[in-house]
Symmetry: C2
DNA sequence: CGAAGTCTTGACAAGACTCAAACTGGGTGG
DNA sequence: CCACCCAGTTTGAGTCTTGTCAAGACTTCG
């Protein structure tokens, strides 16, 4: 069993810049007025760690000793099967949190730095104590967990029901929106998405080869172009149409099942 | 926009039996010693609601006004697309909680009673207040959210990477384990799983026809038989093998990506 | 009894995967 | 400066899993 954290390099200063400026992430959950809470937060987290692109932050099966707050860079959270198949469940962008699992369980997934990444780990036990002491942090944590679940439902729907084109369109659209920090994507913009086609494949449950073919289709249909980690949005409307076959309202609420098994 | 709760029938007593006996679910999170907390919990939740099999508990797009605690019966949580496709993200069994989303968002999924179901709703606002007052309840809530995420990762991996046989095997195995309340399933037992092949299809992202084919394969291979809402486990070992191609340890931790995009 | 829905099966089509090979571009080392 | 290597990307041909269409048998319910 490998240690849960690979401390590749420690940053010279031991404080998490984000907790001080509170621009993003978990630490944002602490009220600015709560100087006591802020001090406690500072005291709680471990020195910031820097990972190189490709480094494992933790591996599937490790004990869950830390909660991680991503300060800069991109991280992939993924689950591996014994025969080599890998599913990327989601990508974490700066401000995101990862690494928490239900108390008493080991990690059922791994996390890998996609780019160089700066990460602020907080010991799980310390974090739980802190969370109980600082209500605003507790709320932020819950919000993030709910957010993850919310997203997971959407991803699950796309992977389960979508065609290859829909899966890739959805993923690219989501990533672009998140990376750009906007609510919708505009025609003509180019956005850095530091992934290979293989990453896209492992996140969508397709083969890299098929991802390539679909990307070509999208290019030939003048929807998006994805080359060398850059996504160029040729036609935002088309992308939107591909990415969101769900009207997200209760437009189809009338669908019902029958009830052969009323009594359990 | 439909109301978030279809109050089909109200049970005569307005108290949730589960909160009193605390055998299961969210209410289990309240310390038995914390009589203040117990009283507050009792006061907080709405009258128990009874749904008939097939009833919508809430619909996609509704406002998230309640958190639901399932007392008896089975519930499907699902996400619908405009063209009629539907993905069941997971099934909720007695003791499970559902209906919470990040603050400020509408529900991105619906919930439907599969069997007749008894459900204890608690207003979201009330619940949040209560949670802040009763730390043990707060912890139970967080544990449940983390549990959901934990499961979602596994489901996502199965749907994304698994063959039809693996998806169905995994689902049946999970349901059997959960329904039987055991950690592993034994050869020879029969377990009630009140689902149609269509439910299985919508949960695995396959067509009902193909589900049928795979079920026949599993029957002919003497793994399981699934008829009329009953799952007969013919060979637990075979089922296990199909359901868990992941060794869940870091057996494959060496797989690495290259790093074409170190700098973000 | 008919109606509706589920389950089952067959024949066929299509989307996605496999295998194989060539091209690209960025590093590395001579 | 060039040759080489490596990983990523691109493309083609063929295969196979899964989806689509169609139709019949069975169950439940009114």
């Amino acid at each position: 069993m490998r240690a849960a954290v690979n401390p590749i390099r420690l940053q010279s200063q031991s404080q998490c810049a984000f907790c001080k400026s509170r621009h993003n992430g978990l630490c944002q959950g602490v009220d600015a007025q709560d100087s006591d809470g802020l001090t406690a937060l500072e005291a709680a987290h471990s020195p910031v760690r820097i990972f190189d692109a490709g480094d494992a932050i933790y591996s599937q099966g490790d004990a869950a000793e830390y909660v991680f707050n991503l300060i800069s860079g991109w991280v992939a959270v993924h689950r591996d099967l014994a025969d080599g198949r890998r599913q990327i469940t989601h990508f974490v962008l700066p401000g995101g949190m990862f690494g928490s699992v239900p108390a008493g369980r080991d990690l059922n997934h791994g996390a890998t730095a996609i780019t160089n990444a700066t990460i602020c780990p907080i010991g799980r036990v310390k974090f739980d104590e802190l969370r109980r002491r600082v209500p605003s942090l507790n709320e932020q944590f819950i919000w993030m967990l709910e957010q993850d679940r919310y997203r997971a439902f959407e991803t699950l729907t796309t992977i389960g029901q979508g065609s290859a084109k829909e899966r890739i369109g959805q993923l690219l659209n989501d990533l672009a929106v998140t990376a750009a920090g906007e609510t919708a994507i505009r025609t003509g913009v180019a956005i850095r998405i530091p992934l290979t086609q293989r990453h896209l494949a492992e996140a969508t449950g397709l083969t890299p080869i098929h991802v390539n073919r679909v990307l070509r289709q999208l290019r030939e249909a003048a929807v998006v172009e994805f080359h060398n980690g850059m996504l160029a949005v040729i036609d935002a409307r088309k992308l939107q149409a591909i990415a969101e076959p769900s009207a997200d309202s209760n437009c189809v609420a009338d669908r019902q099942w029958d009830r052969p098994f009323a009594q359990l």
